[in-house]
């Protein structure tokens, strides 16, 4: 029999498989049964004992793989992948005051990190000033507090913005924070078209998973399209949206749900930008993605490979983008925070290594490795360094970066990649039938699916069906304690004092005028970005700007939460 793809005669056909099953496998099973009846991924996908050439009988490598740097990009977005350039090692950092974070940035740059990544505190993420009643107790805890341009100037002091690329994890108030970054660049005398970086700016996954929203979906999408239009024109190297599955997974989704809801969000942004009149090939190449790398090694690799293939199909075949750059899914990956354990925290170094390796074998463009102490607190300098060293060991010692997409053609990995793709397509189809991702969110569909998956997983862990080493298995001997980073209570006071000083020191009346202009523009269809930039230059605060927009756009309220 001629096999379809290779043109060679295959002796490993279905008859050979039957012979093996009867002659070799069965006696072995009779002597010693397998450890479990059923083997599944961490997301509960069934996994077979053995994958064989027959599994890929109808599988066409020309269609499913292609070559790296070419559609459908399953093998990666660059022709040489890590032989040409290693992934960007981008450790997320930010805590306490702008000064503290600025010091951490200088430290990381001196230790060989190649890009900056900013974590903001919760009040900033929610568009609240540090003196807002809701901010009490949260200023500077989970990231850096930014109220006005003053804080941003301190945050990037001594860091030439044309020589770093900066990723800022900010969503609902992303337009304001980006405007502040641009204003800092203006003050450093750096032309905007030389700035490189990313804002997360992914509001849809906030409604689905992370829940840090301000406005309802429609005006949120308008702000995003305005920012995309502005950057396309003025800050062309800026990545305008980092469409994020990370938080969806952290909220408890399966791998297939992460893949599906993330791509569905991507479809939502493309539709929104198209309907505001933008040209797809002008904006789509600046969209990037952000995925989670969880424990199940092959499932994660399959997910990342499937993501590239699917996005290519979405952009080329569904939206008819012309430029291959629009078809390419570039990604950042972070190892799974939710997989880390407070028990026996040093085990987390090993988990992170396995997860990071999956991200690399999945072909990521940049990577954050979590620190071993992140279930306990923000990382200490020592634990952050081990996390970075983990990536450096994978990059420079393990040899996995020597060839492109080394797992391609594996019967198992390709079958699993196809399976994740299929499962994700069927979710995307259901979301399309609901009227798109915004309608699905309003009906609570992704939220319910994720909550269900999270509950199922928790029950599996509680029942011992899924193992967490150090928690429900091998839990004896938890003696190693790890030091944790403490954020002093003084941060809040200092930050509030600085905000008040900035308010008092600003040019009289100017910020009020800029805020009036902003609300006026918000009522029209004019692009919001110039008005936001103007308000920021006048030292209007994040809270003041977001409040001004709330008067026009309203605020989002979550519907009845099912649990």
């Amino acid at each position: 029999m001629k096999s379809k793809n290779g043109g060679r005669t295959s002796t490993l056909n279905s008859r050979a498989l039957r012979d093996w099953e009867e002659g070799t496998l069965r006696p072995a099973l009779d002597r010693k049964p397998e450890r479990k009846k059923e083997f599944t991924t961490v997301s509960s996908l069934p996994i077979e004992r053995l994958y064989v050439p027959e599994d890929l009988k109808a599988w066409d490598p020309g269609e499913k793989l292609g070559f790296p740097g070419e559609p459908p990009f399953t093998r990666g977005v660059h022709p040489t992948m890590y032989r040409g350039k290693l992934w960007t090692m981008r450790q997320f950092a930010g805590f306490g005051s702008a000064e503290d974070t600025n010091r951490r940035f200088h430290y990381l740059l001196e230790h060989g990190q190649t890009g900056l990544s900013v974590a903001f505190d919760l009040p900033t993420l929610m568009g609240c000033d540090s003196d807002d009643a809701l901010a009490e107790g949260e200023v500077g805890r989970e990231g850096v507090a930014v109220d006005t341009l003053t804080d941003m100037e301190i945050l990037f002091q001594g860091i030439p913005l044309d020589r770093v690329s900066t990723s800022m994890t900010i969503n609902a108030p992303a337009a304001v924070i980006l405007a502040m970054y641009l204003a800092v660049a203006e003050k450093q005398g750096i032309p905007l078209d030389r700035l490189e970086g990313t804002v997360q700016n992914d509001i849809l996954k906030e409604y689905i998973a992370q829940k840090e929203w301000i406005y309802p979906p429609a005006p949120s999408l308008r702000i995003i399209s305005d920012m995309v239009a502005f950057c396309t024109d003025r800050v062309p190297k800026w990545n305008t949206i980092s469409i994020s599955g990370y938080h969806i997974r952290e909220a408890g989704s399966t791998a297939a749900q992460e893949l599906a809801f993330t791509l569905a969000d991507g479809i939502g942004y493309v539709q929104s930008c198209l309907s505001s009149g933008l040209d797809i090939d002008a904006f789509a190449p600046r969209f990037s993605f952000f995925f989670n790398a969880h424990n199940d090694f092959f499932e994660e690799i399959a997910k990342l490979r499937a993501a590239r293939r699917m996005w290519c199909a979405i952009m080329r075949d569904r939206f008819h983008a012309k430029s291959p750059r629009s078809w390419m899914l570039r990604m950042h990956v972070q190892t799974a925070g939710c997989s880390l354990t407070a028990q026996q925290p040093y085990n987390n170094v090993v988990r992170v290594t396995v997860q990071a390796l999956a991200a690399v074998l999945g072909g990521t463009q940049s990577l954050h490795t979590n620190s071993l102490d992140e279930t306990l607190a923000l990382p200490t300098e020592d634990s952050a360094r081990i996390a970075l060293r983990t990536q450096q060991i994978i990059a420079e010692e393990s040899g996995v970066a020597n060839t492109v997409d080394p797992l391609a053609g594996s019967y198992f990995v390709e079958t699993l990649t196809d399976r994740l793709e299929q499962d994700a397509w069927s979710y995307i189809k259901r979301i399309d039938q609901m009227g798109g991702i915004v309608a699905a969110i309003e009906q609570g569909f992704p939220q319910r699916e994720i909550a269900e998956a999270a509950y199922v997983y928790q029950r599996q862990v509680d029942g011992g069906d899924k193992i967490v080493v150090g928690v429900n298995r091998h839990s004896e001997g938890d003696v190693l304690k790890t030091p944790t980073l403490k954020i002093g209570p003084g941060v809040e006071e200092t930050q509030v004092a600085r905000l008040r000083a900035t308010r008092e020191g600003r040019e009289r009346g100017r910020h009020a005028q800029t805020l009036e202009r902003l609300t006026r523009v918000a009522r029209t269809r004019e692009n919001l970005m110039p008005a936001i930039l103007d308000a920021v230059r006048g030292y209007a605060s994040v809270g003041e700007i977001c409040d001004a927009l709330k008067t026009v756009f309203g605020v989002y309220r979550e519907g009845r939460v099912q649990f």
Partner: protein, 136 residues
């Protein structure tokens, strides 16, 4: 006359923290175990939680906190409950809470803190043993 009734619980998320995975899992596990459970939804203030607790006449309040704001929020809830003469409401919690803070919070009147790795069954068992229906 006091009659046997189901224990009523309020599960809440206070502050800006949006991580509701744990809160929803615990709410569901407690409901499945036969308790009456009300979930506040996100972004509540301590005042809102206490107002809901009084209005719903709950026996226990469980708060999930992963933002680091626990040292501010728990004492405030306890104080507000005491002011409303509902100091017998059992307050417990869970989340990312450092050990030394747990001791301080327990001294302040938080009855139990569950940390990562606690099973839903542990929470259910503890609530069953420690949250009696309040006398009315």
């Amino acid at each position: 006359m006091a009659t046997e009734r189901k224990v009523r619980l309020l599960i809440g998320k206070v502050g800006l923290d949006g991580h509701d995975r744990g809160a929803k899992i615990i709410a569901r596990a407690l409901r499945d175990a036969g308790f009456e459970v009300i979930y506040t939804g996100l972004h509540q203030t301590p005042e809102m939680v206490v107002a809901t607790a009084l209005q719903e006449d709950v026996d226990g309040i469980g708060l999930s906190l992963l933002s680091g704001a626990h040292n501010t929020i728990f004492p405030k809830i306890l104080r507000l409950l005491a002011e409303k003469k509902s100091g017998d409401t059992v307050v417990f919690g869970g989340g990312i809470i450092p050990e030394e803070d747990i001791l301080t919070l327990q001294r302040a009147g938080v009855r139990r803190m569950f940390t990562p790795g606690a099973t839903t069954q542990e929470v259910v068992d503890w609530v069953r043993a420690n949250v009696p229906p309040r006398r009315r």
